[in-house]
Symmetry: C2
Subunit: 458 residues, 2 copies
C-alpha cells in the first residue's frame, strides 16, 4: 500500500548486513553455483545421494556435540512455542540425528551428501564468516578401509574437477594417537592434547611442547615422545616405518599405521597419483568425535588459507541418538574458503551474465517481434535477455558491455522490413547480418555455432 511505503520511507533504515555475514553479488554467485554444481556432480559420480535437514534443531540435539567451542558459538533462542532451539553449526551432528531417526528407511551403507549453510557466531577473520556453506559427503555404516580410501578419492576428484592442479591431501590416523594416549594412561587429557597439537602449524613445536607441559601438565617423557611423532617428516614409506616403530608398544597404534598403509596403497592404485596423498603425523583436527583416519586438504600455492576440505572417521556419532552402532567416515568441502582461495590465485574467470545473448529493445513498435525472436532462441537452447524496457540503443549497448554479454542482436524498422537482424560481437565489435526468414534459422545456426566454440562446459 502507498500508505505503508510513505510512512516507512519517512524513517529510512540504513541498508546493512550483520557483522560476519555477507551478500553475494551476481559475479560471485555465478562462480559459487558452478562450484556447488561441480561438487554435486563428483559426489553423485560415487553414488552419494543428497539429503536436507532443517536449519533449526531442538537445542538438546545440537548442544554438547561439537565441544565447548561449538556450544559457545551456537545461535540459540526460544521459538514461538517456548522451545529452546539452535541453528546448526555443522552438518555432521544433524546427520547423526537424521540417521538415527530414519534408520528404517535408509539403505546401509548409507552414502549421503549435504550442501547447506551452517552458522557459528565466531570471531571473524580472513575467509571466516558467521554463515558459510558446507558441502559434506559421508558414508555411514561401513567399517571398511574402502570407505576411507573413497573419502580421499572423492576429495581428489573434487579438486581436479574444480580445476585445481596443485593440492595435497594430508592424512593421519587418530588411532595412532589414541594408542599412545592409552599406553601412557592419558585418555582423560586426550581432547586437551589434541587441541594443543592442532595449533602446531601456527605456534610451532617449541610452544606446543611448552603448552603440553605447562597447560595440559604432561610429564617430560610423554611430551617429548609425542613431539617426536608429530614432527616426523619423510616420504609416506619412511613415515609408515617410523610410525610403526614409534607405536610399537600399542596394538591400537600399530593397527592405525596398518590402516594408513592400506589407504595410501588403495589411493595410489585408483588414481596413479600417489604424491597427492601425504601422511602427516601433525594433523590432529580439533573435533572430538574422530576415531580413525583424518584428512585435511591444502592448496600447494596457498597453504596459509588452511584446509579447504577436511574430515575423517568417527565410529559412533549416531550412538548419541540410537542404540545401533553406526560407524561413519566423510569430509566437508569448505566452499567459501575455497572460493576465496581461487580468487586469490586468479583461478576464477569473472562472469557477470547467465545468458550469452541480449536483444536490444529500442523500437517499441516491434515489441512482439522481439518477444518472438527471444522465444525462438530460447527454444533452440540459447539463453537470451530481452532488454527490460524500450530505451536508446547506446545505453543498452553500454549495459550489455558492462554485463559481459557475448552478442547483442539489433533490429529496428529497417532491419525488420528487410527481414534480417544485426548481430554485434561485443568483444571484437564486429557485426554480422543474419536473415530472420524460416523462423530465424540462419540466426539460430550462427549463434549456436559461435557459442559452442567457447562455452565453458555444456
Amino acid at each position: 500500500m502507498a500508505d505503508t511505503t510513505d510512512k516507512a520511507s519517512a524513517v529510512r533504515i540504513v541498508p546493512r548486513t550483520l557483522k560476519g555475514f555477507r551478500d553475494y553479488l551476481p559475479e560471485q554467485m555465478l562462480v559459487r553455483e558452478q562450484l556447488i554444481e561441480t561438487a554435486r556432480r563428483v559426489y553423485r559420480s560415487y553414488g552419494f545421494v543428497p539429503i536436507d535437514t532443517p536449519a533449526l534443531e531442538y537445542l538438546e540435539i545440537l548442544e554438547g556435540k561439537g565441544g565447548a567451542e561449538s556450544d559457545k558459538q551456537m545461535y540459540r533462542f526460544q521459538d514461538h512455542g517456548g522451545r529452546w532451539v539452535g541453528m546448526r553449526f555443522d552438518l555432521t551432528v544433524p546427520l547423526a540425528r537424521y540417521v538415527a531417526q530414519h534408520l528404517g528407511q535408509l539403505d546401509l551403507p548409507f552414502k549421503r551428501y549435504h550442501i547447506a549453510p551452517v552458522w557459528r557466531g565466531e570471531n571473524t577473520q580472513r575467509g571466516r564468516y558467521r554463515e558459510f556453506l558446507q558441502c559434506d559427503f559421508d558414508t555411514i555404516g561401513a567399517e571398511s578401509v574402502a570407505a576411507d580410501v573413497e573419502t580421499a578419492l572423492v576429495i581428489h576428484d573434487l579438486m581436479h574437477a574444480l580445476g585445481i592442479r596443485q593440492f595435497t591431501i594430508r592424512i593421519n590416523n587418530r588411532m595412532i594417537f589414541n594408542g599412545w594416549a592409552e599406553r601412557w594412561g592419558l585418555q582423560q587429557q586426550a581432547a586437551a592434547i589434541l587441541r594443543t597439537l592442532d595449533k602446531l602449524g601456527k605456534i610451532g613445536p617449541a610452544e606446543v611442547e611448552r603448552e603440553l607441559r605447562e597447560v595440559v601438565r604432561l610429564d617430560e617423557r610423554p611430551a617429548a615422545e609425542l613431539l617426536q611423532m608429530v614432527t616426523a617428516q619423510g616420504s609416506n614409506d619412511e613415515l609408515l616405518r617410523r610410525l610403526d616403530q614409534w607405536g610399537a608398544g600399542s596394538p591400537l597404534s600399530r593397527e592405525g599405521v596398518e590402516r594408513l598403509r592400506q589407504i595410501v596403497d588403495g589411493f595410489a592404485a585408483a588414481t596413479g597419483a600417489s604424491l597427492r596423498l601425504k601422511i602427516d603425523p601433525a594433523i590432529a583436527r580439533g573435533l572430538d568425535y574422530y576415531t580413525g583416519p583424518i584428512f585435511e586438504t591444502y592448496l600447494d600455492e596457498l597453504p596459509s588459507i588452511g584446509s579447504v576440505c577436511s574430515g575423517g572417521r568417527y565410529d559412533d556419532l549416531a550412538g548419541l541418538y540410537c542404540r545401533q552402532r553406526l560407524p561413519g567416515v566423510g569430509a566437508s568441502l569448505g566452499l567459501d574458503r575455497l572460493l576465496a582461495a581461487l580468487e586469490e590465485l586468479h583461478l576464477v574467470e569473472p562472469v557477470r551474465t547467465a545468458a550469452p545473448v541480449m536483444i536490444a529493445f529500442f523500437d517499441e513498435r516491434y515489441y512482439h517481434p522481439y518477444l518472438q525472436l527471444a522465444t525462438r532462441l530460447r527454444q533452440a537452447g540459447i539463453g537470451v535477455e530481452l532488454y527490460a524496457e524500450p530505451k536508446k540503443l547506446a545505453a543498452q549497448l553500454k549495459y550489455a558491455d558492462r554485463r559481459g554479454f557475448r552478442y547483442v542482436i539489433v533490429a529496428g524498422t529497417d532491419e525488420f522490413q528487410a527481414g534480417f537482424c544485426r548481430v554485434k560481437d561485443m568483444r571484437s565489435g564486429q557485426q554480422v547480418d543474419c536473415s530472420l526468414a524460416d523462423d530465424a534459422a540462419q540466426l539460430v545456426a550462427f549463434l549456436t555455432q559461435a557459442l559452442s566454440e567457447r562455452r565453458p562446459q555444456s
Copy 2:
C-alpha cells in the same frame, strides 16, 4: 573421544525434528534438486543472475515490511553481541535491502534470481512448513510492461520445463482496485479490504460481502460494486471490456486495465498459448506492497493446493532503505508446495540413486582392480558406486535392487583371470559379459550406450 561418546549414549537423546520442520530423504531430495536445477536453467535463459543474502538480518531490516502477520511469525532473537536479529521470512525484503546497499555495483535494470530457504513460525497445514524454499526472480528498475510480460513468460516456461502441461496463470492488476479505493476515498481501508478479498476462494462471495460490511465497515454501495468486480467471469476480452466499464470513473483503474491488455497481448505473441494466462479479478494477494499486476499460478488438476508461483509488481520497495525510486516486478516459485502437488499427481518418477551403476565388492583380494575399474568408468562420465565394503554378493544385489541401480558389475577370481566381468541388468535380470581388455573399452561402450538410451536429461 571415546569418553564423550560413552557419556552421551548413557543419556540418549530422542532423535526428532521440530514441529513444522522436516528432513528430506534421498528420494525426495533427488527430485527437489532436479526441480531447483530446472528453475535455475529457466531463470538463466532469460538473463536473470543469481544472488545470495544472509539467513539472518538486523531485525529493523525485516520488521514491519511484510505486514502484521509476517512480524508475528518471524523468528527473532538477540545474538552474541546483543543485537536483535531476525530470520528472513521471504526473499523480497532482503532483495530491497540488497539493492539499496549495493546500488553502485549493480547494473540496472537488475534481474536477479534467488533460491534459498525462508522461515515463518506459522500454523502448520497441508503443504505448509515453517521452513521452506523459495525460488524468486525479480526485475528491479524497469517500469515497462515488458518486464510484466516477462514475469508471466518465465512462469510459463518454468511450468513447461517442470513437465506440467495443465496450468493457468491468473492475473489481475492492483491498479484497478487502487483506482476504485481512491474513487470511494477508501485508501485507509485498502489493506483490510484486500485481506478480506483474498479469502474469496475459501469463504465465498456472500461471506466476503458480509465481512466487508461488518468488519471493514464498508457502505452498501461500494461493497456491492466491489463484489460485482471480483466475481466477474468470462474470456479475457470480455473481462477487459467489463473491467474497463467498471473502472470508468478512475483514470488509475483504466490505466490498470490497459496494462492488463498489453500483458495479455504480449504473452500471446510470445507463446501462442493465450489460454494459459487468464484474467481473474478475484486475485487480490495478501501482501501489502504490490502496486500493479499480480500473478498466481494454479495446477488445473489440483487447484486446491493453491498457487504454486505467485508475484507481482511493487513500485517502491527499496524506498524503505534508499532515496532512489526502484520499481520492481517478479514472482516466487513455491518449490515445496509444487513438489507436494507433483507427488499427488504422480508426475514424479521415484529415484533412489544418483549413480546408475554399482560394482559389487565381494572378493577382497581384488579391491584394487575394483577401484581401477570404478575410476575408469567415472572418467568415461559414468556414475558408479563401488559397494562400500567386502560382503556376500546376495546382500549386495539386494542393496542394489532397493537403491534402484540400473546395472551391477560382478567380477571375482574366475572373471578377472579370464579378463572379463558380468554386467547384470537389474530390471530384466539378464546378464551380459564384457571384456576388460584395452582399459575395459567394451564395458565402457556397452554402459555408455545402454545408459544414453534412458537417461532423463544429460
